[in-house]
Symmetry: C2
Subunit: 233 residues, 2 copies
């Protein structure tokens, strides 16, 4: 089982998937990360990080998609966001009590890097420019997530479904045609509605020619209308 996690290692210096923050580090600073990190692969569906666990390493998502979620109770799941590549996972948890507040699981086969937390914190404290970049990233995420949540809490189901579709089209895949990375249940968990209701609205949208949907494949046909529905709530 464990041998599935192929542990490869090239140097961080010539990594094509560096974060914006890491890009501004000096050679010797990058060396510190290089010597105190390792890369690993996680298969589709597997958990990368568990809500409630203690952080000893910071995890950088090098390639692939990851879902960020919490389970308020064993039978419920709230998906907070879909995390794209070139992102550190769970930064806010890192600077607080060091307990991970969210769980992360791989939506496809992904590559992640584990970086020693002390090395990372040290770079922040030593290099204000690096800290600033991390701050920008934490702030952006905080704002984005919050906006999605506020919208959600204000909108009714049609608006929420429209939002979710736009989220995939504009932010996650940046294309009008994409393949949902998960089931209808999970789609529903992303916007906080029941699976049945989500299904119904999705089919209504299809019926009205707003989207084309076949299994997990989805295409936005009437962007204008969808945006309008999203606005109206």
């Amino acid at each position: 089982m464990f041998s599935d996690y192929t542990i490869t290692k090239q140097t961080c210096h010539d990594c094509k998937d560096k974060s914006c923050a890491a890009a501004i580090l000096s050679k010797s600073e990058l060396d510190q990360i290089n010597f105190n990190s390792r890369e690993s692969q996680v298969k589709k569906g597997e958990i990368i990080l568990h809500e409630g666990s203690l952080t000893s390493h910071i995890i950088y998502l090098k390639t692939g998609l990851v879902k960020e979620f919490v389970k308020p109770s064993p039978d419920r799941e709230q998906i907070l966001s879909i995390v794209k590549q070139h992102t550190y996972l769970g930064l806010p948890s890192l600077f607080g009590d060091r307990i991970n507040h969210y769980s992360y699981s791989a939506l496809d086969n992904v590559k992640v890097c584990y970086i020693d937390i002390n090395v990372f914190n040290n770079l922040i404290k030593k290099n204000g420019q690096f800290a600033y970049e991390i701050l920008v990233s934490v702030s952006r995420d905080s704002l984005n997530n919050f906006h999605r949540f506020i919208n959600q809490s204000q909108k009714r189901i049609y608006g929420r479904v429209a939002d979710a579709i736009l989220y995939f089209g504009r932010i996650v895949y940046e294309s009008n045609e994409f393949c949902l990375p998960f089931t209808r249940k999970e789609f529903a968990d992303l916007i906080g509605v029941s699976r049945e209701s989500a299904t119904r609205v999705l089919l209504k949208f299809k019926e009205e020619g707003i989207i084309e949907i076949k299994g997990r494949m989805m295409e936005i046909l009437k962007m204008e209308l969808l945006e309008q529905i999203s606005r109206k709530g």
Copy 2:
């Protein structure tokens, strides 16, 4: 009107209300803030910062309570949090597009300091330790607010009202007896329910002896029960 804002100025060095972050600055660094900031008072009910406005100064809440909110539509209001003294307002907005994403208004007469944004950013980039402290604060807020929101979206009205009461008792006032800083409407806006429903639940709690409430005065009588209701949702 404007003369109401008494502009006093003592030096930042002997300020009794310094932020945790500012406390670690050197004398010369504090000087920079000192020469590029001014203190001002805002009266109860007045707006400190408008959602959508551009940031030229960062605002530090020296004393008093402030409500952080957004207005998704002119007739709706979502209160995000009650901000306590010794907190920078709207930090996440500062590091993104520099547009304020939330509004802030004074819940009582408050003192705030306006600090030049460039000076502030400079300190972050020059002093990683300072940056780290800001990072901790942004992260804490992000996590806290998110938790409240996730809870909210998962709970039904009884749980939400219980949460709000506990929020005031434990976090805002740190006492079992307190005076709500605003109307029932605003109380409802904090937890995203209608005013009528909030009222009804509040009175139900009173009837059952869980809380004592008279106007805006509130006292938590059965903490255990309240926590249980909060957990059950």
